[in-house]
């Protein structure tokens, strides 16, 4: 594990409980940094981070309904896999995904 860790650049985001269960918060970044990141928490307390832009027409995924390991985009209801950022078939597309680490109560994201 440690071999992997050395390659990561973790940034502290928030406490786990700052994230609503089956919901998300927006991590603000300006466009030059690549735009906002959505940080999700599902019912199993697994945390995921995706670029807050739907592969369809850029809808803010952070505002969608979270279920299982997916989020439904609020604009046209595409389903996006939280793990990979891939749109669920038959829709095709992928949004950038960021590695996440939960250490006790602290949530870290590698934003590169």
């Amino acid at each position: 594990m440690s071999a992997i860790e050395t390659e990561m650049s973790w940034r502290y985001v928030c406490k786990l409980d700052d994230l609503p269960v089956l919901g998300a918060r927006v991590l603000e970044r300006n466009e030059t940094e690549g735009g906002n990141v959505a940080v999700f928490r599902n019912s199993e307390d697994v945390v995921f981070a995706l670029l807050d832009k739907c592969p369809h027409k850029g809808g803010p995924l952070s505002q969608g309904i979270v279920f299982g390991e997916r989020v439904a985009c609020p604009l046209h209801n595409w389903s996006i896999e939280l793990k990979s950022g891939e749109a669920v078939a038959p829709d095709v597309g992928c949004t950038k995904r960021f590695p996440v680490k939960v250490d006790g109560e602290d949530v870290f994201v590698d934003l590169r």
Binding site: W10, Y12, R29, F67, L75, P90, F108
Partner: protein
């Protein structure tokens, strides 16, 4: 960690039902089994139904393949074609092929389809005598048509007529021999059967009716050359196609000791598609007998496939309870449709339209105000509509008079399209919501092998939004895919997470007093851990409307608009629409709005059609501050809830006014606001029949007259304009509140999520609503009281965040911490 050995699933029969089951299984449990498929035919799974268009030269074999070789490979399925299984050793769980290979299984699926029935007559085995079941038969017919002249088809049913039509188109002289007095006697009544015969005769096909074949006679070459009837008459026949029916293919099952029905045949299965004898062995398709019925059309087989996959995946909830089927003959130029019990009889009512000159005949059979059968000839555009009414068991009493003239006559503009489907050009738009044209849909149906409305929705997005083009898409499915696959179960499940219908879910919540979303999902056996974006909001609403004050609202089960209490726009900003009671405002309110627009740099200010002001382009972070600065109540313009009460100026100012419509509107709005409902609810009140507030297209429309108020319900100005229907006339404004409130409460308690009042009323019938609200004073008062109880003390979500369970964290974006806390490089 040791790797878990996957269970072995073997499938006998590489046909439509077997492979459909595997497809369904892969969707829900892709890694559960190591799958092996055995098939006698040397082809991958193809669409058997489309053999007729192939025979007729309208399509090629290549066009009709459903799962190509790569599909099996990509899904890790071991496909063994050209091998017939001849033995199942159940205790050893072992299969043997005709050439002696052995194969073990943990679970087995038998999908061997059916065999053509061969008449036990002399000469039945002669070369040139063909049945009509598979690609080999079809190719044999195509080849024969190249060399020979005279074809005889025995059997005037669906298959026989499609064969006859194909052979005729390939240039042969075709005679159809049928024992019954009219064609397709199991699907058509006598009139329609005769009309069908006439139109096929016009295509050049000859008929021998009520004729019994005695023998097939060989010619010099040893090949069939003639057919002799019992009467002694003889006709030339270079090929004979036997299409006198099918028998479930159960020889293998019987040999292995599985229980098989004697009549009408088929391996006996239970509601979970397991064979009665051996629970490790499942069976689907034409080879089964379910509750005494063996099916011969694909729609029921696909329902079976779904249930079977569900049990193979060990979700264990689906039940197959049988199907209603419909028939459509795939002979280009002949329009014929039949479904249900079209023969009628005692206790049944017949509605018949007969226009032999125009070649049109329609017969509808009604029982207890429900459509139970339909037989259409010459004009089948309303087939899918009738089929829908029939399957859903809709009450047709109110539309009985117009029933015969079809859906377009019911004033249902949106669904009218039926007639259009065929005549439309490929570039014509079908789905206005998603901009999908006919060509895209038919192409997807063909190339991706789509069968159901749901699949078309997923792949093309057509009909996935407002649904008003559903009728058109169903028609396209019918014409393109060849058969009628229109949505199968009698009652649709809420979504793919469950088999429970909206009604069933509602009932369970009430009867078992379920009080949370997880509890509902657990009790009703949801397949997914926490539902999806379609079922969760519905369940949340059902809980809220059934158990007001007890159920605790779950914002994460609400769509973003109802979570943020503002409408999301396409750029991710929001709109703010404050409430203006009855459309009235004041200088003070306008000033506060103007100040907020400046302060928060709100780009657009627009007057809505609901008589209030819309501030568009508000950033999510600014929402709470904008609400606070404006200081007006939430307009709920974002919610499935009471929206506006639109009013005209009324008697206070208007020279025509008979009633004070503005005051009435304000009173109504104050009584009903904060009311969540299955869908949005709009009211309007006009002060006289000139109806300037357009009350005729609202969920509840109220029109003032000299002597009181006329109440209208279930109007809709949306995608399809629906004129509100007269409900009752009352005298006082208190009565207006009580009657309309009771009606809306009935809808809140019984409507399905996302069902507008117009759809609710058409489902249960206007008479039913009148009975509950107008005729029954006690019930009316009880409904009205329950509404007031539910609304009493309801918070305004813009100001009472805690009480309305608004998660205010959502308005505060997280700023990434500048320094890396645990960074290592």
């Amino acid at each position: 960690m040791s790797t878990v050995q996957k269970q072995k699933l073997a499938v006998i029969g590489n046909g439509m039902a077997g492979i459909r089951t595997i497809e369904e299984l892969l969707k829900i449990a892709p890694d559960k089994y190591e799958i092996t498929v055995f098939g006698t035919e040397p082809h991958p799974n193809y669409n058997r139904i489309l053999l007729s268009p192939v025979l007729a030269g309208e399509q090629t074999i290549k066009d009709i393949v459903l799962n190509d070789w790569d599909w099996y490979k990509d899904n890790g399925i071991n496909l063994i074609t050209g091998k017939t299984i001849t033995e199942i050793h159940r205790t050893r769980r072992e299969l043997t092929t005709a050439s002696g290979e052995k194969h073990n299984y943990d679970r087995l699926l038998i999908a061997t389809g059916s065999n053509p029935f061969i008449l036990p007559i002399e000469g039945k085995n002669l070369p040139g005598v063909i049945s009509y079941r598979d690609i080999a038969d079809t190719e044999a017919m195509i080849d024969a048509a190249k060399i020979y002249k005279n074809a005889v088809v025995i059997g005037g049913g669906l298959l026989g007529l499609e064969a006859a039509n194909g052979l005729k188109l390939r240039g042969m002289d075709v005679t159809v021999v049928h024992v019954m007095p009219w064609l397709m006697e199991r699907q058509l009544d006598e009139k329609a059967g005769k009309l069908l015969q006439a139109s096929l005769e016009a295509k050049g096909i000859t008929f021998k009716m009520q004729a019994q074949t005695e023998a097939l006679i060989a010619g010099e070459s040893g090949r069939v050359a003639a057919l002799r009837f019992k009467t002694g008459e003889q006709i030339p026949a270079d090929i004979v196609v036997m299409a006198v029916g099918i028998r479930p293919n159960t020889a293998l099952a019987e040999k292995s000791g599985l229980q098989v029905s004697a009549r009408p045949g088929g391996i006996i299965v239970n509601d979970t598609m397991q064979t009665l004898t051996d629970p490790r062995i499942y069976s689907v398709g034409e080879c089964v007998n379910h509750r005494g019925t063996a099916y011969g059309l694909v729609a029921p087989l696909f329902e079976m496939a779904k249930v079977c996959a569900n049990h193979l995946a060990e979700y264990g909830i689906g039940r197959y309870v049988g199907s209603v089927t419909s028939t459509k003959l795939k002979v280009t130029g002949v329009d014929l449709f039949s479904a249900g019990n079209f023969q009628g009889g005692e206790g049944f009512e017949d509605i018949v339209l007969s226009d032999p000159m125009g070649g049109v005949y329609k017969r509808l059979v009604v029982k207890d105000d429900k459509l139970v059968g339909a037989c259409l000839y010459g004009d089948t555009v309303d087939g899918s509509w009738y089929f829908k009414l029939l399957r859903e068991g809709k009450n047709v009493a109110e539309i009985r008079d117009q029933l015969m003239f079809g859906e377009s006559n019911i004033g249902d503009v949106g669904h009218e399209g039926n007639t259009r489907a065929v005549t439309m050009k490929d570039t014509d738009e079908v789905c206005g919501c998603n901009g999908v044209c006919k060509g895209t849909i038919t192409k997807a149906i063909k190339e991706k092998g789509l069968f159901t409305l749901d699949e078309v929705r997923k792949h093309t997005k057509a009909s996935s939004s407002c649904g008003s083009c559903t009728g058109l898409v169903e028609q396209l499915l019918m014409f393109t895919a060849g058969g009628d696959y229109s949505a199968t179960p009698k009652m649709k499940p809420m979504c793919a997470c469950t088999d429970s219908t909206h009604q069933h879910t509602r009932d369970a919540i009430r009867e078992q007093k379920l009080l949370s979303v997880p509890e509902v999902m657990k009790t009703l056996g949801w397949r997914t851990p926490n539902g999806c974006s379609s079922c969760r909001p519905a369940i949340n609403y059902y809980l809220l409307s059934t158990w007001p004050k007890e159920y605790v609202d779950d914002p994460q089960s609400r769509y973003i608009n109802e979570r943020a209490h503002a409408n999301i726009q396409k750029d991710g900003t929001f709109s703010v629409i404050p409430r203006m009671w009855g459309g009235e405002t004041t200088a003070d309110e306008l000033r506060r709005i103007a100040n907020a627009v400046d302060k928060y740099k709100i780009p657009t200010v627009k007057v809505t059609g609901g008589q209030r002001i819309d501030l568009l382009g508000v950033k999510k972070e600014d929402l709470p501050a904008v609400w606070k600065d404006i200081g007006m109540p939430s307009g709920h313009a974002y919610a499935k809830a009471l929206r506006t009460v639109k009013t005209c100026v009324g008697s206070e100012w208007c020279r025509f006014g008979t009633q004070d419509s503005t005051q009435m509107g304000k009173d109504l709005e104050r009584a009903m606001w904060r009311m969540y409902a299955p869908h949005k609810v709009k009211y309007a009140v006009s002060g006289c029949p000139r109806n300037c507030a357009e009350a005729g297209i609202k969920d509840v429309g109220i029109i003032g007259v000299d002597s009181g108020w006329e109440l209208y319900v279930a109007g809709n100005g949306g995608i399809k304009t629906e004129v509100a229907q007269f409900f009752v006339k009352v005298k006082t404004s208190d009565e207006v509140l009580e009657y309309t409130g009771a009606f809306i409460q009935l809808y809140r308690e019984e409507g399905w999520y996302l069902e507008r009042t117009v759809h609710y009323v058409s489902r249960v019938g206007l008479d039913y609503c009148k009975k509950k609200v107008v005729d029954d004073a006690v019930n009316r008062k009880a409904l009205w009281e329950r509404l007031q109880f539910a609304l009493d003390g309801e918070p305004d979500p813009w100001f009472e965040f805690d009480k309305a369970r608004v998660d205010t964290r959502q308005f505060i974006p997280i700023k990434p911490i500048a320094a890396d806390t645990v960074a290592t490089v």
